[in-house]
């Protein structure tokens, strides 16, 4: 059996990771940059990093993922990568002709200390074209940090408070979620009648239709004009503290746009919070369509609650997603007993411990206790599960090793999902996303019940 994890806990002090539950900053920056229209992400470093990041994103989205690299050589690592980046910028505009280049760094260029803003200033940039950047050292944080940093860079470079009075529009920062989720958040804002600017927005970029043509810069993505106009919005709603709040705060500081940070709208409570925030700001009634959807969701929850009640679940993945999932699991009557993220615990720039505190508050309200860990790895999660078994595991593809070893039903949510398709097109956020989650979770639990049932217990109606 594919299981080398011992049950006994031995203290681990080396700081090394066994079976990581996170990856590095640049891939998050690359994904965020793909959410800008006409933008080519550029990886300033060795060609290998870029190749890995593209490969990983390609496997998750099953769509072509374009990004260029500075292609470092030994010389560049000694003398600095300025020349490489300048040549790269020139070549990129000449060959691929994007509107925008979004440069992110890698461990290597961070370590040798390339000064990206100065290099960009000296670079040969054609009229009307734009280059911006974010520093993304992977020896800090995780891919979520990288996503956050690149999103924040969009504010720093482009947002402008150009109008005298703020416009009746809201900035929506969706966080590191799938394009299917972004579409759902936009649909909700649309139903609410709230004009919005979503950034970054990868819908229409990594979920493009088949047309028989390869389009290097697809239709989707936040436009430069929208990024600039985000400084004129009267509100920013940041969804997910880890991936989105930094950009929202930067926007508040730079352009005086008031910001609220909400949970990623997974489940009924977090979706309610999003809807309420939009209602408060735009003084409109919640439309019947959304009322109806919500009512349907509640109906489904009551119809199915007995499947979930008291079921022990382990949840892992990116902090914003995991927080949403934990809250939803609790509202279904499940008991999250192990909750883990690979991303370090503190929201960036704030005091450490907020992930743990958030989750502790969520399970605490239901009178439950959980093992909660930020900056953890899947070895640890596996050990926790061995010591306190669960009925269900929710997380990204890498959970399949544990699910198999422990013979636990497994629901795939998050990033990356490398072994199933369609997931990036359909939402887990919003009321409809919650319905989908219920279908997935109940399906996994009931399939298991059917599989394990003795003939006499095997039921037609469940």
């Amino acid at each position: 059996m594919l299981d080398a994890t011992p049950k006994e806990f031995n203290e681990r002090t080396s700081g090394g990771m066994i079976n990581p539950a996170k990856t590095c900053q640049p891939i998050g920056a690359m994904y965020a940059a793909l959410g800008v229209h006409g933008c080519l992400p550029h990886s300033h470093g060795s060609q290998g990093c870029c190749s890995f990041h593209r490969m990983h994103l390609t496997r998750h989205f099953r769509d072509p993922v374009m990004a260029s690299t500075s292609s470092f050589t030994e010389g560049a690592s000694v003398f600095g990568g300025g020349a490489n980046l300048k040549t790269a910028i020139k070549n990129i505009f000449q060959i691929y002709n994007p509107e925008i280049i979004a440069v992110h760094t890698t461990c290597l260029t961070e370590t040798i200390g390339d000064d990206i803003p100065s290099i960009i200033k000296e670079a040969d940039i054609p009229e009307g074209k734009v280059v911006f950047h974010a520093n993304t050292p992977s020896y800090q944080g995780s891919h979520i940090t990288g996503f956050s940093n690149m999103t924040k860079a969009m504010v720093g470079y482009f947002a402008e408070a150009s109008a005298a009075i703020k416009k009746e529009q809201v900035n929506l920062i969706p966080g590191f979620v799938n394009p299917g989720d972004m579409r759902e958040i936009k649909r909700i804002a649309h139903l609410m009648g709230a004009p919005f600017i979503m950034f970054p927005d990868t819908s229409g970029v990594v979920d493009t239709p088949m047309t028989g043509e390869f389009v290097m810069f697809p239709k989707g993505g936040t436009t430069l004009g929208e990024l600039g106009d985000s400084g004129n919005s009267k509100l920013t709603v940041a969804l997910g503290r880890f991936a989105s709040s930094d950009a929202a705060e930067a926007l508040a500081k730079k352009c005086k746009v008031p910001a609220v940070t909400l949970k990623t709208p997974i489940g009924i409570k977090a979706t309610d919070a999003l809807v309420m925030a939009l209602r408060r700001a735009f003084v409109r009634e919640v439309p019947w369509e959304l009322e109806e959807e919500r009512g349907q969701l509640v109906d489904i929850m009551t119809d199915t609650h007995f499947h979930f009640h008291g079921k022990k679940v382990a949840i892992f993945g990116d902090p914003d997603i995991v927080t949403g999932l934990a809250e939803f699991a609790v509202s279904l009557g499940m008991a999250p007993v192990h909750v883990l993220t690979g991303t370090p615990g503190g929201a960036i720039g704030s005091d450490v411990g907020s992930f743990e505190e958030d989750i502790a508050a969520i399970v605490g309200q239901a009178g439950l206790k959980a093992n909660i860990k930020a900056g953890g790895d899947l070895f640890t999660l596996h050990q926790l599960i061995k010591n306190e078994p669960v009925d269900l595991l929710i997380g990204n593809t890498y959970g399949k090793y544990i699910a198999r070893a422990e013979d636990v039903p497994f629901v795939r949510v998050g990033f990356p999902i490398l072994d199933r398709s369609v997931h990036s097109y359909l939402p887990v956020v919003g009321y409809r996303g919650a319905m989908r989650l219920i279908e997935m979770i109940a399906g996994a639990l009931l399939d298991r019940q059917d599989r394990d049932a003795a003939d006499e217990d095997f039921e037609l109606v469940m």
Binding site: L2, A4, P6, N10, R12, S14, G15, G16, M17, I18, P20, K22, T23, C24, G45, S46, Q47, G48, C49, C50, S51, F52, M55, H56, T58, F61, D63, P64, V65, S68, T69, S70, S71, F72, T73, E74, N84, L85, T87, I89, K90, Q94, I95, Y96, T106, C107, T111, S138, Y139, Q140, S142, T208, P209, M210, T211, G212, E213, F214, M216, F379
Partner: protein, 455 residues
């Protein structure tokens, strides 16, 4: 996207057979700013060593390099599965400033205590090359402490491309070898044992070849590196002969083994019926002929009789189709050209990531006039030439799959994501079946008319 070809300096990487004397530039680094498909030294080293099943593969670097290579390759195991875990020192800012040697040593200690391995590989990543950690020293000390082998893999990424990583992996493998004792050597002579280099047991391919050779009477001592264990690798020098499939990754090791231990090597290929039969014949002859050769002929006749009709039936359906090939090494490209020919399919575009000059010459001699040959293609080039040459099918890796699909072309993964073994006689049938199922799927009919409800 035609303007893409205006890229300065790319012209030398592309040639069209028949139009000019080919002097393709290759084995060079990608151009700065390229949407290159190329991977790094670490990646090259890791894919070669990763199939060693009972080793700890510890990546010394920030987390990403390890995350992306966790269970990256579909190499199957008949024993341990330690290699399918991901180990990283997860370097943090402190380590970058003060050096990561202590952390590396502590990580090794911890992993040895947990898993009691006999062999630990520690991989260097770009950043380690820059901060200057002394992997040799850490490895040596750890080896002494634990009485096991700890081998540093010098795979800092910026010092070249994947090919340099293969070389680093060969260095690491060579360090594991030791001269056979006289008793072992004598045994080897009797056993007619050989080593099989350059098969990573993707989808169990090495097992198929092992089985063929067993039927002939040749014993496979160890496979480099598919399904290999530490114990097997240590016995490598017992063998009388090395056969080598993936030369791109293994040529250096083969020549080292020949130079140091006097074990000769020969190149083989088990892709396609003709290459498989030819390779089996040559191995039998090299191992003494006679009975071996007779059994080889019997095997070839038996297997060919079983699969030829199947291949022929596919050929009838596939003849006249055109394929584009974009793979890692030149040797694989050569085999694929031949294998497509067995199916009546013409290869109209050939590219590789790490092909060598002599390999490009062979390719040039194999293909028809007008075939485009290119080194380290970018997506725009792949698109342009596939369209221009009317390729119906692309053979490529992970990143090429969605590109091909977007263009409405069939696709085959001949890399880590392959689904069925493609080696030997059975593999030739699988290959034909895969080509057929992707080329002739009804989805392409939708793809052609889809997207235009107003048309």
């Amino acid at each position: 996207m035609a303007q893409a070809l205006a890229i300065d300096g790319r012209q030398d990487f592309i040639t069209t057979k028949g139009r000019q004397i080919s002097r393709l530039k290759c084995d060079d680094d990608s151009i700065a700013g390229a949407v290159s498909q190329r991977a790094c030294v670490y990646c090259g080293a890791r894919v070669v060593l990763n199939p060693i099943t009972d080793a700890i593969h510890l990546v010394h670097g920030p987390i990403g390099c390890a995350s992306y290579t966790w269970d990256i390759r579909g190499s199957l195991t008949s024993g341990a599965d330690l290699y399918r875990n991901s180990f990283s020192t997860d370097l943090k800012e402190r380590d970058i400033i003060f050096g990561g040697e202590k952390k590396l040593a502590a990580a090794i200690d911890e992993l040895v205590a947990k898993y009691s391995p006999k062999l630990v590989f520690i991989y260097s990543t770009c950043i380690v090359g820059v901060i200057g950690d002394d992997l040799e020293a850490v490895a040596k000390a750890a080896a002494n402490r634990h009485g096991i082998e700890v081998i540093p893999v010098q795979s800092s990424g910026f010092a070249g491309n994947k090919a340099a990583g293969y070389r680093a992996a060969c260095d690491a493998l060579f360090r594991l070898t030791a001269p056979a004792t006289p008793a072992e050597a004598a045994l080897a002579g009797k056993d007619r044992s050989i080593n099989y280099l350059g098969d990573f047991n993707l989808a169990g391919e090495a097992w198929i070849i092992r089985d063929y050779l067993a039927q002939i009477g040749v014993d496979v001592n160890v496979v480099f590196t598919g399904d290999a264990s530490y114990g097997e690798l240590k016995k490598a020098t017992r063998a009388r002969l090395n056969i080598m499939q993936c030369a791109g990754s293994m040529a250096y090791l083969a020549s080292q083994l020949e130079e140091t231990y006097g074990i000769p090597y020969m190149r083989v290929s088990f892709l396609g019926l003709a290459d498989t039969a030819d390779s089996l014949r040559r191995i039998a002859a090299a191992m003494g002929g006679g009975d071996l050769s007779r059994r080889a002929e019997e095997l070839i006749a038996r297997e060919t009789a079983a699969v030829q009709p199947v291949i022929d039936s596919y050929r009838a359906k596939l003849a006249g189709k055109k394929a584009a090939v974009y793979v890692g090494g030149g040797f694989k490209a050569i085999s694929l050209i031949k294998q497509f020919r067995e199916l009546g399919i013409e290869v109209v575009m050939v590219g590789t990531q790490t092909g060598r000059k002599d390999e490009y010459e062979t390719i040039d001699s194999l293909v028809a006039d007008g075939t485009v040959i290119l080194d380290d293609a970018n997506p725009a080039e792949l698109e342009k030439f596939m369209a221009e040459k009317g390729a119906d099918l692309l053979v490529g890796g992970v990143k090429e799959r969605p590109l091909a699909y977007k263009l409405g072309r069939a696709f085959i993964d001949h890399n880590h994501d392959r689904k069925h073994p493609l080696s030997g006689f059975a593999g030739a049938v699988n290959f034909a079946a895969e080509v057929y199922s992707t080329l002739c799927s009804p989805v392409w009919r939708q793809a052609k008319t889809g997207g235009d409800l107003n048309g």
